[in-house]
């Protein structure tokens, strides 16, 4: 058995262990599940230490290569250490400092980017001429414009959904239902695609190795 076939068998057996959950919860499934969590965590730890912290922090702090040491980098190092204090109840309060940097930096950036890309730009793209594309174009653009406006009215709860507002909200939820239907269709597609991928692995990579391994 070559190292390549050994790998395929390891992957296939673990795959079958996980699929055994479909019958019912069992020790094989739990074994594979725990192994997956542990190995994934190991992967993350290695990458974070050797491919983020070492080149982006340590090498700059101590001045790797020709670079001069930069002691300013002690600050993010200390903040990173303080984050770990979250697991010590008495000292957990100090983890608020690094958390504040993460939350503040993230909030400041997202405020601008979400407003620009998902707010203003979407409003701008909805302001389109209804005419000019024939009857089909008119209907399509009308659906787009009315759908966005009515959809937003549906999400606006400061005014009761009655009368004209109620009519718009009703149109909005109708458009949203079509969109949710499309999302459901795509969700089904995604889940089946994942199953297809693993079935292809078992059928075309693992099964052909069985006669070789069994010496047939």
């Amino acid at each position: 058995m070559t190292i390549e076939i050994l790998g395929i068998w390891a992957g296939a057996l673990l795959t079958l262990c996980l699929y055994s959950f479909l019958y019912r919860d069992n020790p094989f499934y739990r074994f594979a599940e725990h192994l997956f969590v542990g190995m994934s965590a190991g992967y993350w730890a290695v990458y974070t230490i050797f491919y983020v912290l070492k080149p982006n922090w340590w090498d700059r702090l101590v001045g790797a290569g020709d670079a001069d040491p930069n002691l300013l980098w002690i600050i993010p190092g200390v903040l990173a250490m303080l984050m770990l204090l979250r697991v010590v109840p008495k000292l957990a309060v100090y983890s608020r400092l690094p958390l504040a940097l993460i939350v503040g930096g993230g909030a400041g950036l997202q405020l601008v980017t979400f407003f620009q890309t998902n707010g203003l730009k979407q409003v701008e793209n909805t302001i389109i001429p209804l005419t000019g594309g024939g009857t089909v174009g008119l209907v399509n653009n009308l659906i787009l414009v009315a759908g966005v406006v009515c959809g937003l009215v549906y999400f606006f709860f400061s005014k009761a959904h009655k009368g004209f507002t109620g009519g718009m909200a009703s149109t909005g939820i109708t458009i949203l239902m079509v969109a949710f239907g499309a999302s459901f269709g795509y969700t089904v597609m995604a889940r089946i695609s994942l199953l297809i991928g693993q079935t292809q692995f078992l059928l075309f990579e693992w099964l052909p190795t069985i006669p070789r391994v069994l010496g047939l």
Partner: protein
């Protein structure tokens, strides 16, 4: 009849599981194929955009996914890399998801070997960094600050193909393969809308519908996204367009049959539900 419908309605879920498995296994085992022309749409738009890029254009490719979505995103990554390296484009790869770095390496190295492309001249994998959207903003001012070395610890300054690349603006296109957050929205927000670099990419089918607003083309203006491959179908489209059918195209028949089976499940579920009068019992139950 009512009893039969009731029995069907209460069927053990494992029966459904077996039928589902068969719907996927049988077409794949029989190598069933179905004609699948690629019409105008987001997949074609991405293909067309990449195809018109002149040789030696630079593409930043971000592998923002992990093994959980590999069956959908890996085939599209393979097709995109094959198209780009085959068109003499230069790829600088990176990842906003840790496991994307290794999945990307597998694709780049494999396709590169088959096409005779050279690491550090035609492609380089810079690996993974934390930060998501914040990291992308940093790429807008200095790529070297975010990625001092590549995945093999070669310093940025020693990589020939990066000698005249300093910020995100030096790229002709950003291609992201996205399984969630951080992914397409982050790249559209920062690379496209803030730094003006065209963005295209692929995503899982689950998230594809929410990115359609980014694809709208207005007269005389660049769309927020230059094209989108949605799920395995998007990957199959791209494989068809570059005439390199692979795992995605091969999976389309199984995908078709499985969709039909799910639709049959929904129809039978509704028939049993309404025919056995369960509607009355659940009325007002907040369905």
């Amino acid at each position: 009849m009512k009893k039969l419908l009731e029995r069907i309605g209460n069927v053990d879920r494992r029966v459904i599981f077996v039928l589902m498995a068969l719907a996927v296994i049988v077409p794949l085992a029989l190598k069933l194929t179905m004609e699948m022309p690629v019409g105008e749409g987001p997949s074609y738009e991405l293909y067309e955009y990449i195809d018109q890029l002149p040789a030696d254009s630079r593409v930043l490719m971000s592998f923002d996914y992990d093994p959980s979505t590999k069956p959908e995103l890996q085939p599209m990554a393979r097709a995109l890399v094959a198209h780009m390296l085959g068109s003499d484009l230069n790829i600088v790869a990176m990842a906003l998801w840790p496991q994307g770095a290794t999945l990307g390496q597998e694709i780049l190295s494999g396709v590169s070997d088959s096409l005779g492309a050279e690491q550090y001249e035609d492609w380089v994998n810079m690996g993974y960094k934390t930060g998501g959207q914040v990291l992308i903003v940093r790429l807008g001012t200095s790529i070297e600050a975010a990625f001092p070395t590549d995945l093999e610890n070669v310093p940025y300054g020693e990589i020939p193909m990066l000698s005249d690349v300093s910020t995100l603006r030096d790229f002709d296109l950003v291609v992201t393969l996205s399984a969630g957050d951080p992914g397409i929205p982050a790249w559209v927000m920062i690379a496209s809308d803030r730094f003006g670099v065209p963005v295209g990419g692929g995503c899982t089918a689950v998230s594809a519908p929410q990115f359609y607003p980014y694809l709208q083309q207005r007269d005389g203006e660049r769309p927020q996204m230059e094209g989108l491959l949605g799920g395995l179908r998007g990957a199959a489209d791209y494989e068809t367009l570059i005439e390199r059918p692979g795992l995605a195209a091969a999976g389309m028949s199984a995908q078709s049959i499985a969709h039909l089976v799910i639709m049959v499940f929904i129809v039978i579920g509704n028939i049993t539900f309404f025919a056995t009068g369960r509607k009355k019992r659940t009325k007002g139950g907040g369905r």
